[in-house]
């Protein structure tokens, strides 16, 4: 451990920091020392640092306002390199550790000489909403190219990280009978009551340890110090099975007892202290039957000029630094209060040796005598002076004067932290309600499974908080526990109503980060922005990173005054999750980048990888696009080679990814009849049939073959893309429309590996693989199916073809599919069997005029793709009714056609638009249609071919058309239209 450095504002005793463990860290490259248990804020304050940052709009120098998550000013960057940069960290919540490096943000030049402070000089010209009223000169281009870039550069707070986050994050599903939000003394008391009644309880506390202000504010409990009392309560809760989660922010309340919480596991530790393989943060999705909101209250400031000066802070913050960290934020302290609570803080500072003057806004305040504390009644802080740190405070009111001060603490009253109780406001049909006596919003009436405890209820004294905790425990079925006797209790009273002092204006800040002032609120009202939402949006009050925790209520109180309404009438804005900002990455958890979604692999994926395959995504599947062989120049070269080999001799491809559904039951044929457009009742056992399914809206959904394996047993295949959707559709139709059909079905996609053998030698190869099966044209005719065995395993042989060749698909159980694939390769070796991928398949199916998802894009009818003849007129089926709507017989519908490039080497562009002229005009009224699929080289045609949809398709066969693509530099390509069935139109090859 390095030598101890001086910490000028650190008292030599007090606080709950570990004075045995000095911690060295930096801020703006200067080295400082604090103690273990310090926040960055407390450690820097201990070192006399007052200036922490700059405000968003006017770049005014700012210090610390609060001591916790409400802090609007002191945002810093924690830098561990560009990838591990952590901007906008609240200094009050950042725990220091050895070697921590932090930086101030949002300034040009050093923090104390920020060039952007020029904004402050012109602040009178930059009132709320100024940007709506100017920047017109020069029109759109001037805005976009000149004004807006300047605004964008000036805006923003910290610097963004520039690379992937090196940390990992976990999502944890956490369950509890009751979630207690807030581990202060009220939350812990309720938790103990519930845990003792046998409930499973989780207590989430946003700060670094359980206990809240009881830890340090000097009250005693049954004679014990707060820290000791809290410690033994925590032990009791854990002994009863409760879980205590410090550093855990419950950020949102969702439906049915679901809560989002983030636990910070690493940020307070040095790298060496972090357990390996553990997450930086955990996102707990908490499911609880009941909840206790023990979220506490947040102190508010008062609007007066200069209330944003470094050194002006909330009284509770000053008290926290003193009590929790042993840091005295000033020697000559002015304390401006509107209620008795300020006196406890005054007494604590006085006891710590500070010279304290209380400015009590109340003329009728009771006399309080505290050693060394001067009290001036009926006055308010009118103006704080001192650009880089408060030096002097002018007070006014019943008397006026000026005080030398190096700190000004403000006790403006308390706002219960009602945020979470309003996330699901609709459940209670009520937002937080305004209590005109407390001058604060309190939770609305809560539902049965909810309770509130502690100062969030509006309770002020510790004794009252404990009583609410006991009531909360009782409401939720807890066991009665003895409440402690509180001694040395701090004074409390209801506040006097003073939201802003007389004369507060341009420099009286409400939203410190966004620089929204008392004057801005008045201006909003003057301009007609009288709804609280209008005021918020117009002034941006409450829209900063602290979401107005210290500012909102004051802002709307001033709006109420400016518009002559009650505060209750004005109401609050809606609180939205998250309660405090949380890293986006923690909510993503494990599922990011490569692990964003699972991969689905065919059983021969590894073989394909080892044999030169390049894969493409097909939904979650990885499918070989093409196999690169020695000598292949590019993907097209490979695909053409694979096509030629298949057409010329024998190809093999993996079709394991097709959806497969096993259908059984006496009504299976009836079910198929209703699902498909064509008839199924006459299909013999041992035969397959091509089927087309429509959606209920009458447009084509999916196609595939279904085979009849037994009297009541069918095996359906779907496209890879629609496998899940078809299964879901079948389940929907069966269960919602025809639940009495005696049929059951199951997805067997993963059970079967399947390959296609295609080409003139496919039969010979199949015969070698299945020597005991008659695979002759008679034994296994086109659309025939045989179930047999391969090496003791079931094998299904289907004589079907997508490529247009003589072809077979063979399915065997996935466990042995790799072995079967190898056997097929071996068997086909004598015919130079060639594996082919999707690119070659694409060439072949386009040559054959077979459609895929490019054509069946959810907008085409059966007729559009030339399959209108597949409609049985004898029966009803899904989609039939809607396909009888008038648009379906519109003569202008685009229908499928084949296109052939005019000459070899010409490209046809996928997504190109078809016109009948090369000269134009090209617009939407002259377009005939569009290209859906392209084979950039068809060996059959020795040039590019394509499938397209055009109006009056049949009329264009044999004629010249033009494919135009403006997004390819207005390329215009001459093509000839044809029937889309380029290859073997009479199916002689597939039937051979």
């Amino acid at each position: 451990m390095s030598a101890r450095l001086p910490q000028p504002n650190r008292l030599d005793h007090g606080g709950i920091i570990n004075r045995d463990r000095p911690v060295t860290f930096t801020f703006d490259r200067r080295v400082y020392q604090g103690f273990e248990g310090d926040s960055l804020a407390s450690a820097l304050l201990a070192n006399g640092v007052k200036l922490f940052g700059r405000s968003f709009k006017y770049h005014r120098p700012r210090g610390i306002l609060g001591a916790g998550p409400e802090e609007p000013n002191a945002l810093v960057e924690v830098d561990r390199g560009p990838a591990d940069r952590d901007p906008n960290h609240r200094a009050t919540m950042l725990e220091i550790y050895e070697g921590l490096e932090t930086f101030s943000q949002n300034h040009i030049g050093p923090l104390n000489m920020d060039l952007m402070e020029v904004n402050d000089l012109f602040s009178r010209f930059l009132p709320a909403g100024f940007y709506y009223k100017t920047f017109f000169f020069g029109g759109l281009q001037a805005w976009y190219r000149l004004y807006e870039p300047i605004i964008r550069r000036a805006a923003g707070l910290g610097r963004p990280p520039l690379a992937a986050d090196p940390h990992h994050y976990d999502k944890i599903y956490t369950h509890a009978d009751t979630l207690v939000v807030g581990g202060g003394i009220a939350g812990l008391t309720t938790a103990l009551s519930l845990a003792k009644a046998g409930q499973s309880v989780v207590v989430c506390e946003e700060r670094d340890r359980m206990g809240g202000s009881a830890l340090w504010q000097g009250e005693t409990f049954n004679g014990e110090t707060g820290a000791a009392y809290i410690a033994h309560m925590c032990r009791e809760i854990e002994a009863a099975g409760g879980r205590l989660l410090p550093r855990t922010t419950v950020f949102g309340v969702y439906d049915a007892g679901t809560f989002g919480a983030v636990e910070r596991c690493h940020d307070h530790l040095t790298k060496a202290d972090r357990a390996p393989h553990t997450a930086r943060m955990k996102y707990h999705r908490i499911q609880a039957k009941a909840v206790v909101y023990a979220t506490g209250a947040i102190e508010r400031s008062v609007g007066f000029n200069g209330n944003d000066r470094p050194g002006v802070m909330l009284a509770s913050a000053g008290h926290t630094f003193l009590g929790k960290y042993g840091v005295r934020v000033g020697e000559r302290v002015s304390l401006f209060t509107t209620h008795d609570g300020g006196y406890g803080t005054a007494a604590a500072f006085s006891a710590a040796g500070a010279e304290v003057t209380v400015l009590d806004a109340r003329t009728d305040a009771a006399d309080v005598s505290i050693d060394g504390v001067r009290v001036i009644k009926g006055v308010y802080a009118g103006q704080a002076h001192g650009r880089m740190g408060v030096r002097r405070v002018d007070y006014d009111g019943a008397s006026s004067g000026s005080l030398d001060a190096d700190a000004l603490l403000v006790a403006g009253g308390w706002n219960p932290a009602v945020h979470l109780t309003s996330h699901t406001t609709d459940r209670r049909q009520s937002k937080p309600v305004y209590d005109a006596e407390l001058l604060a919003f309190v939770p609305p009436e809560l539902v049965d499974q909810e309770a509130a405890a502690g100062s969030v209820t509006g309770a002020m004294s510790t004794a009252d908080c404990l009583a609410t905790a006991q009531a909360a425990g009782k409401k939720l079925g807890g066991k009665k526990i003895e409440l402690p006797t509180v001694d040395q209790a701090l004074p409390v009273s209801k506040p006097m109503e003073m939201w802003a002092v007389p004369g507060a204006g341009d420099a009286a800040f409400l939203d410190m980060q966004n620089d929204a002032t008392v004057k801005d609120v008045k201006l909003a009202a003057q301009e007609g922005f009288k709804s609280v939402e209008h005021m918020k949006r117009y002034t941006t009050l409450g829209m900063a990173t602290d979401q107005g925790k210290t500012a909102n209520v004051t802002g709307l109180a001033l709006l109420a005054a400016a518009t002559g309404r009650d505060i209750a009438q004005v109401g609050t804005t809606t609180f939205r999750p998250p309660y405090t900002p949380i890293p986006i990455g923690v909510l993503a958890g494990h599922h990011r980048q490569r692990d964003y979604a699972p991969f689905r692999y065919s059983p021969v994926h590894a073989w394909a990888e080892d044999n030169g395959a390049t894969f493409m995504e097909a939904g979650l599947w990885m499918r070989p696009a093409y196999y690169t062989a020695p000598g292949d120049k590019d993907w097209l070269d490979s695909a053409v080679r694979e096509t030629r080999a298949t057409r010329g001799s024998l190809g093999i491809t993996d079709v394991s990814t097709l959806g497969k559904i096993d259908i059984q039951g006496p009504d299976a044929a009836e079910f198929l009849n209703r699902l498909y457009t064509n008839g199924w009742k006459t299909l013999p056992v041992g035969k397959a049939r091509y089927g087309l399914m429509l959606r209920e809206d009458g447009l084509v959904f999916d196609d595939g073959t279904t085979s009849r394996l037994g009297e009541n047993h069918y095996y359906m295949t779907t496209t890879t893309a629609h496998a899940a959707a078809v299964m879901t559709h079948m389940e929907f139709m069966h269960q919602s429309a025809w639940p009495d059909l005696a049929v059951a079905f199951a997805s067997v996609t993963d059970q079967w590996g399947a390959l296609a053998l295609a080409g003139p030698n496919a039969r010979a190869c199949l015969a070698k693989l299945f020597p005991e099966v008659d695979v002759s044209n008679d034994g296994l005719p086109f659309m025939g199916v045989i179930e047999t065995q391969w090496q003791g395993y079931t094998a299904r042989l289907f004589r079907i073809s997508f490529s247009g060749e003589l072809a077979y698909e063979v399915a065997v159980p996935a466990d042995i599919f790799d072995a079967f694939w190898q056997a097929a390769l071996q068997a086909g070796a004598e015919w130079k069997i060639t594996p082919y991928g999707l690119e070659a398949l694409n060439i072949m199916r386009i040559e054959k005029g077979h459609v895929t998802g490019a054509e069946l894009d959810g907008r085409v009818s059966m007729d559009d793709v030339g399959l209108g003849k597949m409609v049985s007129s004898k029966k009803d089926f899904v989609g039939r009714a809607m396909s009888e709507r008038e648009a379906f017989s519109d003569p202008d519908r685009a229908k499928m056609v084949g296109l052939v490039a005019a000459k070899p080497g010409d490209k046809i562009i996928g997504g190109g638009i078809v016109f009948d002229s090369a000269e134009g005009p090209f617009d939407y009224t002259t377009m005939l249609g569009y290209v859906t699929s392209v084979a950039q080289y068809s060996p059959l045609k020795d040039r590019a071919i394509a499938l397209a949809f055009i109006k009056n398709a049949a009329d264009w066969h044999g004629k010249t058309l033009y494919v135009v693509s403006h997004v390819h530099g207005k390329s215009i390509m001459e093509v000839r239209a044809e029937s889309p069935h380029f290859y073997d139109p009479n199916n002689e090859k597939v039937m051979a």
């Binding site: 439906d255 003057q526 939205r576 900002p581 995504e617």
Partner: protein, 417 residues
């Protein structure tokens, strides 16, 4: 003194303490009768009133708003403006709307901060590239602009996008340069101020509780502030269309779904364009203030509550971090939800209803914000009996005729669009 906005006025007001700014709009009591009532003081309703007054000279108009002006989806969206649609039924309309956006600040004398920072839709397969090429081509044929980017083009435009995404690599993107973002509240306020200036009564806190129909035609409305007569009533209440329609006995092809949106803390510029990740239905842009503004798909269940649930939130963050890995450490500031009028084909309806004098503007799905000026323009023309060709296909009866406008090809299921 002119009440026009501008630099010199700002300067003058600054020097005299901003005492000269008058209200942006009046706060009138409702009259007994108007020529036209627009139900809904959101973006579309205000824009309709503005164009009724400005283009058609119809100024005896009331806009009735249940809450505060601009409090619906115009105040809770991700501010994206674009005209990158495939189908004529949509593209003619959205391109008209985009053209209005381009001159809107000047037209309204209100800086709506329309920023043509471009949109890029990233795709992941050759098939998707062809589909995007077709869309780009068709956009151009409708007078819009489009550029097809390859992988490197996307990388150049948006260096922080993980184009080499190890799960769903990006092959390229379709870019519309004229697309961008705008300041959403300013749009509502600008139209409101413009309409008010031309004599339109904007009546807030005035809930329509009944629509009076006699002999098949409207005669007026009942409101929380008393009855108001009118021979023409325009509904522009997306999010509440079914509820308001029911007041006139209409059952409409609409479901209500929540779309969540998210904004991060402000940070210095890291993303210039609006950019979308096809594999995650994720979109993101960065606001002038520095917040990353992003979202993805619907939660999927029907709701009128303006909030969503965690599973979708998790999905959005997963997609976001996969697409823009650097955003992992940026903090989420706020999330919210807007209630979407989901139609069965994902496209809007601007049409007359079977009740004479009752006009419908609904079914905006996610597309309402970018449509604001176009919607107001076209709806005002329809109400003024001068319907324009831009909305020729946005018919209410299209689900009966089958002439649907299905951009996604997802079919007749409201929550799939």
């Amino acid at each position: 003194m002119s009440d026009r906005y501008g630099f010199w006025r700002l300067l003058r007001e600054g020097l005299r303490g901003h005492t000269g700014w008058g209200p942006a709009w009046r706060d009138p009591e409702p009259k007994a009768e108007y020529d036209v009532i627009i139900i809904g003081g959101g973006g579309h309703g205000l824009a309709t009133a503005y164009y009724l007054a400005k283009v058609h000279g119809i100024t005896n108009v009331a806009v009735l708003e249940k809450g505060y002006l601009g409090g619906g989806n115009v105040g809770r969206n991700t501010t994206i403006v674009r005209s990158n649609y495939l189908h004529t039924g949509n593209e003619l309309f959205y391109e008209k709307s985009l053209q209005l956006w381009e001159g809107l600040s000047g037209d309204l004398d209100y800086n709506v901060m329309f920023s043509p920072r471009s949109i890029i839709n990233c795709f992941h397969t050759d098939g998707q590239r062809d589909a995007e090429a077709r869309r780009g081509n068709q956009m151009i044929l409708h007078g819009a602009d489009a550029v097809l980017l390859d992988k490197e083009g996307v990388r150049r435009e948006a260096p922080l996008i993980d184009v080499d995404n190890p799960r769903f690599p990006i092959y390229g993107g379709l870019m519309q340069k004229r697309a961008g973002t705008a300041r959403h509240d300013a749009v509502a306020w600008g139209f409101a101020r413009g309409a008010d200036k031309r004599g339109v009564d904007l009546i807030q806190n005035c809930e329509v509780t009944g629509i009076d129909v006699e002999d098949g035609r409207v005669t007026g409305v009942q409101t929380s502030r008393g009855p108001i007569k009118a021979k023409k009533i325009g509904m522009a209440v997306a999010g509440n269309t079914s509820r308001v329609g029911a007041l006139a006995g209409l059952r409409l092809p609409i479901e209500s779904h929540v779309l969540q949106a998210f904004v991060s803390e402000g940070i210095k510029p890291m993303l210039h364009n609006v950019i979308t990740f096809g594999a995650g239905h994720f979109y993101i842009s960065q606001s002038d203030k520095g917040g990353l503004v992003f979202g993805a798909s619907l939660d999927g269940y029907n709701t009128y509550a303006q909030r969503g649930n965690l599973p979708l939130i998790e999905h959005v963050m997963e997609a976001g971090v996969s697409f823009v890995p650097a955003m992992s450490k940026v903090r989420l500031l706020r999330s919210w939800g807007g209630v979407m009028d989901m139609s069965p084909d994902g496209s809007p309806i601007i049409d007359k209803t079977p009740i004479e004098g009752l006009y419908l503007n609904a079914g905006w799905c996610y597309g309402g914000f970018k449509a604001t000026p176009g919607s107001g323009w076209c709806f005002s023309h329809l109400i003024a009996d001068k319907p324009t060709h831009h909305i020729a296909q946005m018919r209410l009866d299209r689900f009966k005729t089958g002439r649907v406008i299905d951009e996604l090809g997802a079919g007749a299921q409201h929550n799939l669009h």
